[in-house]
Symmetry: C2
Subunit: 278 residues, 2 copies
């Protein structure tokens, strides 16, 4: 990565990390200062685990998982190790999301509030299920050594698009959750009277949008991707299943791409290599 | 576009168009059947213009505006004409959004409900303002002939990313609006009792997410982009300001890209050409 490019990357990354941390502080202050704190008692303090685990796990950890391949200081590490970190962070985010859901179901059941009636709950549960599916398919495709390289390449656009779409959708679902909670939770003064809690949690919503926007920007800049020689290496070490023709063909395409890059300023990529680089 | 690729494009496009139409029918049935209909009287029937104009204009028309360059039957048209259609549809969507906002402010003021207290209103107003800014910058950059090609190329990643981010954000804001309206609007039975209106409008929310997902999929497939010879042509006809060196360099890069494409199956692109192709 050229120096200028690296500097820009670090600025955007620092902004994303800072905003992510501030969002976590905001959600903690929301439940600890404005609300009843955290507990596992079937009451509002159990409900409070829902926003805390969503913001820290399902949004922040997932955001980091998405851009983990972009961190230049990891480009010395093997691609396989980075895949494990990517999968591990996503698994952790998934666990946080599941506990966050259990907290709400528990709270609803204890308070005799119906489950799964709101658009927030429909889209939220769908997102958690699809996220679990994405995790299983991701491990099956990219961490099990015998999966043919051709399958990996075919599935990659869906893996990348599905991952980014889920990330954006989960932030949208969180914004709906904030809306619901502020309407139901604020009684006197109400949400429409803009008490300090309303303003504070609205700002949390804005922070989540900013965090999401920066993560998606980082994830979609092609010039910030992990360089290709590492991919070559990972194909050599991971792709030697029973699909050697495909491997050879993929390798020749990748090398072709690298040659092109060496010849001038203009960065050329084959689509296959692009997809592999995620 | 190869035949197989074209077929896949048409399937996804048809699905997006069908889901978009169904969403429009749903929002109309919501306000005409479940709610008080449409009027401009300061009451709930005026408020109802808000979801109708948002779904038809700010979401559906904007979605079409985003993918208008992808329609293969427009590839015979000049790029300039397609730019005018892209800008015109976005302008129309913007007008719809502004009227949608006026309807809410009018309704709030008549009913003595405070304005701009909710996260929905904060993010919605921000989205409308940024959308207006994007429109002004887009016209300034890509429709005014004197803007240097180098500026156009530099701004293109921001134009594309900003456009897609705004589109996704506006759908998220609509989902928050649905949540608010169902909580405030449904009294007996309430939202949590899942009356038919609640289920019906939840489904509208799901349709909006599906529409958005398909539009974003279409917009981000590189192999569905308008072919490059058209871009060459548009650079020749639009880019002849006072920036001829840049034009020549851009042209040579683009031709370079085309040559690469002609030599084999693997599609190669320069990043600049990619961005230009939007």
């Amino acid at each position: 990565m050229a120096m200028e490019n690296l500097k820009q990357f670090l600025v955007v990354l620092s902004a994303a990390a800072a905003i992510g941390f501030i969002a976590i502080i905001f959600v903690l202050r929301w439940v600890l200062h404005f609300q009843d704190g955290l507990a596992w008692d079937g009451g509002l303090a159990e409900f409070n685990w829902h926003p805390v685990l969503t913001v820290t796990g399902f949004i922040f950890l997932q955001g980091i998982a998405i851009i983990v391949y972009r961190l230049p200081w990891t480009w010395q590490c093997s691609k396989l190790m980075m895949k494990f970190i990517h999968a591990g962070l996503n698994l952790l985010a998934f666990v946080f999301a599941v506990i966050a859901m259990v907290a709400v179901f528990d709270f609803h059941n204890a308070a005799n509030i119906p489950n799964m009636y709101s658009l927030h709950s429909w889209l939220g549960l769908t997102a958690v299920i699809l996220y679990g599916l994405q995790l299983v398919l991701g491990v099956g495709m990219y961490l099990i050594p015998v999966t043919p390289v051709s399958w990996r390449a075919t599935f990659m656009p869906f893996h990348v698009y599905g991952g980014l779409l889920l990330f954006a959708s989960i932030i949208a679902v969180a914004l709906m959750g904030i809306t619901e909670k502020l309407i139901f939770g604020l009684k006197d003064p109400k949400y429409k009277d803009s008490p300090p809690e309303a303003i504070f949690v609205n700002v949390l919503g804005v922070l989540l949008v900013l965090f999401g926007s920066l993560i998606l920007w980082i994830a979609t800049r092609t010039s910030w991707k992990r360089p290709r020689d590492q991919i070559l290496h990972s194909l050599h070490t991971n792709g030697g299943g029973g699909d050697n023709t495909k491997v050879a063909s993929a390798l020749s395409q990748l090398q072709d791409g690298s040659d092109a890059e060496a010849t001038g300023d203009v960065r050329k990529r084959s689509n296959k290599a692009d997809e592999q680089a995620n």
